[in-house]
């Protein structure tokens, strides 16, 4: 890992967005992920070094979150710092100079409007190098199928927070597996269990965002 990568990783992990942001207090008035990324790219750093930094920072904060050592606000602050860095990488993604690991389509299933958990999963998975297509909440199987048609090599994540919407999750997994058996489907949410995932034919259950990101990294490798 280069020095640039390590610095970006630290700023992402600590949630230091930009110089104007007074948080965290011990990094006050120092450059944040925004300025550091711009400066690094201007002085010839490879965009992949920045991406590696974002991935490392998000991986670290995601792991601490899984261990209950940090909480949702910490994760959200890191995600914001990551976005500040990623904004500078946009043209490099478009030119193909840096590549994402793949596309991750995510949504909360029909009848369910919970989205904080789903959004956290999106952020961590994005931070691990994936392009995110967020279909939102109350998403029917057809909408997932249309999105898969547009991104045939994608992986799909489904979230549900109510036991009453778990049947919709089951139907969505069945519809995806019927039309596109090779598409990997991950599921999660407070009432979901590994047993339920096995029963409905999902490829992975993760209780937290980092578990989802780790599964995707392994599956994509």
């Amino acid at each position: 890992m280069s020095e640039t990568t390590d610095r970006i990783a630290l700023l992402v992990k600590r949630g230091k967005i930009n110089k104007a942001s007074p948080f965290p207090p011990d990094l006050k008035e120092q450059d944040g992920a925004d300025e550091q990324t711009k400066a690094a790219l201007d002085s010839g750093a490879k965009p992949s070094e920045i991406l590696d930094g974002c991935m490392k920072g998000m991986q670290e904060i995601g792991t601490l979150f899984s261990q209950n050592k940090v909480f949702v606000p910490d994760l959200l602050m890191s995600a914001k710092a990551m976005s500040a860095a990623m904004a500078h990488l946009k043209p490099h993604f478009q030119s193909g100079e840096v590549k994402r690991k793949g596309t991750f389509i995510i949504g909360t299933v029909t009848g369910d409007l919970h989205d904080i958990g789903k959004n956290l999963v999106s952020m961590v998975v994005e931070g691990c190098g994936w392009e995110i297509v967020d279909l939102g909440v109350d998403v029917g199987a057809d909408t997932f199928l249309e999105a898969i048609e547009q991104h045939p090599d994608c992986a799909v994540g489904l979230s549900a927070l109510l036991t009453t919407t778990m049947p919709a999750m089951s139907q969505t997994v069945a519809a995806i597996k019927e039309k596109s058996p090779q598409t990997r489907v991950l599921i999660g949410g407070a009432p979901i269990t590994r047993e339920f995932a096995d029963k409905i034919g999902a490829d992975c259950y993760s209780p937290d965002p980092q578990g989802a990101a780790n599964y995707l990294s392994t599956a994509a490798a």
């Binding site: 909480f71 602050m77 109510l162």
Partner: protein, 237 residues
Amino acid sequence: MSTISFSQEFSASFEELPLGPDRILAAMGYPDSAAPAPVPELVQEALCAAPKHCTCRGIFQVLQSSNVSVGKDFIRNGDLRFSTGKMIAAQIKKSETICVFLTTIGPGLETISRALLHGDDPVKGYVIDTLASEATEAAVDLFAGHMLEYCAENNWKMTNRFSPGYCGWSVAEQKNLFSLFPENTCGITLSESCLMHPIKSVSGIIGLGKNVKKQPYPCEFCTMNNCIKRKLKEKGQ
């Protein structure tokens, strides 16, 4: 024939809720004063702004005791059966009747937090969301406290409150619960998938009687292994 022997609507302002910064920080997971900046500041800010956007309303209806019976894993109100599961039925068993309730803090805070969560300040949005969730729980407890006055007149005490979706009682049974209230009571509606609107709402029952008592809330009976409250308890917070 009405099966309700007593019905009372309550309302309260945000200021009446027993809700301080520590409770909100704890709900996010932070142990005593360990939340990093800017979280405690955002909690204070949210507590100051909340009163303008929050109207707490609730309805508590006591069912006619002659209509209520409790089985091993269900409670019956005439023809209406609540399949509560064994754990809740055991807690309600000694009750003379039950009180069914709905409570909400309205859509105000939820609208603000959603806009922030999807906009440029998700941390603030999440803080307001957590505050709103805790305010909802606090409103139920405040109104349930008011019901103690009614209970005292009958020499009754109260059990814990139990909600569909907890302790083995299916969330789908909210449909039965809602059948006991006029439509749109307190502005609360129930969707086909049993989601209440406004989101920051709670439904449930409480047992009333001379020989009932409140028990410490038992996480062990709940099957939700991934619940944040359980994780925090296990961590000793």
